[in-house]
C-alpha cells in the first residue's frame, strides 16, 4: 500500500506537543511498542513523552488500562470501543494530556472475526476521544508499520486540532 510513513511524523508530533505543552502516552497492542519507540527516537521526547504500555493480552488491557472486560469478551480486542478505552486508559495511567492507542489484526490469521489488516487507532484528549478504523493491505510487518504510522498521524492531527496554549 502506498501509505508509507511520512518522514518525520514522530518529530512533528514531538515538536508540536512541546510547542503546545501537551504530554503524550501510548497504549499499544499490535504495534507492541513501535509508536513509543518512534516517539522516543526523537531528540527532545523527554519533554513531552510520559510513557507507554504494551498491552498484548486481553487481561493486561483490563488490568493495566482499565478496559471493560465484558465488552472485551463480547467484541474481542480488535474493536473501536476497546481502542477508545485503551487510549483513555493510557491518558489516565500516565497522567498525560493525550493518549494514543493501537489495536488490530496484524495477521497472518484473522483475529476474533476481524479481517487481517483491520486496525483501530484512538486518540484521547480533554476534548474527547477520536477513533479511526483502517483496513490495511499487506503482510504482518506492513500492517504493523502502517498501524504505527496511522497512530502518529492521528496524534499529529489531534495536536493540530487542540487549542494552542490553553491546557484544559
Amino acid at each position: 500500500m502506498e501509505l508509507a510513513e511520512e518522514p518525520g511524523t514522530a518529530s512533528e508530533v514531538i515538536r508540536l506537543a512541546a510547542l503546545r505543552r501537551r504530554t503524550i502516552a501510548t497504549a499499544e497492542s499490535l504495534t507492541a511498542g513501535m509508536v513509543a519507540a518512534s516517539l522516543g527516537a526523537v531528540p527532545g521526547a523527554s519533554a513531552v513523552f510520559q510513557g507507554g504500555a504494551v498491552t498484548y493480552q486481553n487481561e493486561i488491557k483490563v488490568s493495566v488500562l482499565g478496559v471493560d472486560p465484558a465488552g472485551l469478551a463480547a467484541t474481542g480486542a480488535v474493536d473501536a470501543r476497546v481502542a477508545r478505552q485503551m487510549a483513555e486508559g493510557a491518558r489516565r495511567v500516565f497522567a498525560a494530556d493525550l493518549g494514543v492507542s493501537t489495536t488490530g489484526a496484524a495477521g497472518p490469521e484473522p483475529h476474533g472475526g476481524k479481517l487481517v489488516g483491520t486496525v483501530y487507532v484512538a486518540v484521547a484528549s480533554a476534548a474527547g476521544t477520536a477513533v479511526s478504523e483502517y483496513l490495511f493491505d499487506g503482510d504482518r510487518n506492513e500492517v504493523r508499520t502502517l498501524a504505527c504510522s496511522a497512530a502518529l498521524q492521528q496524534l499529529h492531527a489531534a495536536l493540530i486540532e487542540s487549542d494552542p496554549g490553553n491546557k484544559s
Binding site: 474481542g76 473501536a80 489516565r92 476474533g112 480533554a126 476521544t129 477520536a130 478504523e133 490495511f136
Partner: protein, 208 residues
C-alpha cells in the same frame, strides 16, 4: 478527570462524499444510455460516449474512495453500507440497461444479479457468526465484471469489426463464470463459519 465524549470518524468525509457522488452518477448513466437509444440515427452517438464516460468515472471513484477510506482511517458505518450499495447499483443498472437495449442476453444479467443479491443477503444472515472476507476471487470478479460491461458499453463493434463483439462476449462469459464460482465459494465459507462458530464459541488467538 471526567470521561471525555467519544468521537467516531466523521460521516462527512472525502471517501463517503465520493460514494454519494457515485450513487448520484447512476441516474445520469441510465439517462444518457436511454437518450442515446432514442436519438435519431439509431444511437451510438454522443450520449453513448457520455454514458461510457460516466461509467468510467464512477468505477474510478469506487476504487479511489475504497483506498482512501481504508488507508486513512475513514471507514464509517455509513460507508460500509453505502459503498457496496453504490457498487451494485452501478453494475446492476448497467447490466439491466444493456439487456433492455437488446445488447446483452437477459440470462447473463439475471445470473449475475441473483448471485450478487444472494451473497449480500447471506453476508447479513451469518454476520453474527463472523465477517466473510471479500476474497481475492471477489476482487477479481468485480474487475472482470467491470471490464466486460465496459467492453459492451463502448460502441466500437461497428468500427473495428466482429472480433470486438467476440472479445466482449468472451470476457462477459468469464465474468459470469467467476461470479458463479466465487458465489459458491461464499456459500461454502458461510456454512463453515457457522459450524466453526458453534463448535468453539469465541476464538482465542493472541495476534492482536
Amino acid at each position: 478527570m471526567s470521561t471525555p465524549p467519544a468521537k467516531p470518524a466523521p460521516t462527512l468525509n472525502i471517501a463517503n462524499v465520493l460514494t454519494v457522488v457515485r450513487i448520484l452518477l447512476v441516474p445520469f448513466f441510465v439517462w444518457f444510455l436511454l437518450l442515446d437509444d432514442s436519438a435519431p440515427g439509431g444511437g451510438n452517438g454522443l450520449f453513448r460516449w457520455l454514458a461510457v464516460a460516466v461509467f468510467a468515472v464512477a468505477i474510478y471513484t469506487d476504487k479511489l474512495d475504497g483506498d482512501l477510506a481504508r488507508s486513512r482511517g475513514l471507514i464509517t458505518d455509513f460507508g460500509k453500507i453505502a459503498d457496496p450499495i453504490a457498487d451494485k447499483l452501478l453494475i446492476g443498472s448497467a447490466l439491466i440497461l444493456l439487456s433492455v437495449l437488446g445488447e446483452l442476453w437477459w440470462w447473463v444479467t439475471i445470473v449475475i444479479l441473483v448471485r450478487e443479491l444472494g451473497i449480500t443477503v447471506l453476508r447479513f444472515a451469518v454476520i453474527r457468526y463472523g465477517v466473510m472476507p471479500a476474497s481475492r476471487g471477489g476482487k477479481l470478479k468485480t474487475v472482470i465484471q467491470t471490464f466486460a460491461i465496459f467492453l459492451y458499453l463502448l460502441p466500437l463493434a461497428g468500427m473495428v469489426g466482429d472480433w470486438y463483439t467476440w472479445l466482449a462476449i468472451a470476457v462477459m462469459l468469464a465474468a459470469v463464470a467467476v461470479t458463479v464460482i466465487t458465489g459458491l465459494d461464499y456459500i461454502v465459507q458461510a456454512v463453515r463459519l457457522r459450524r466453526d462458530s458453534r463448535a468453539r464459541g469465541q476464538s482465542g488467538s493472541a495476534t492482536s
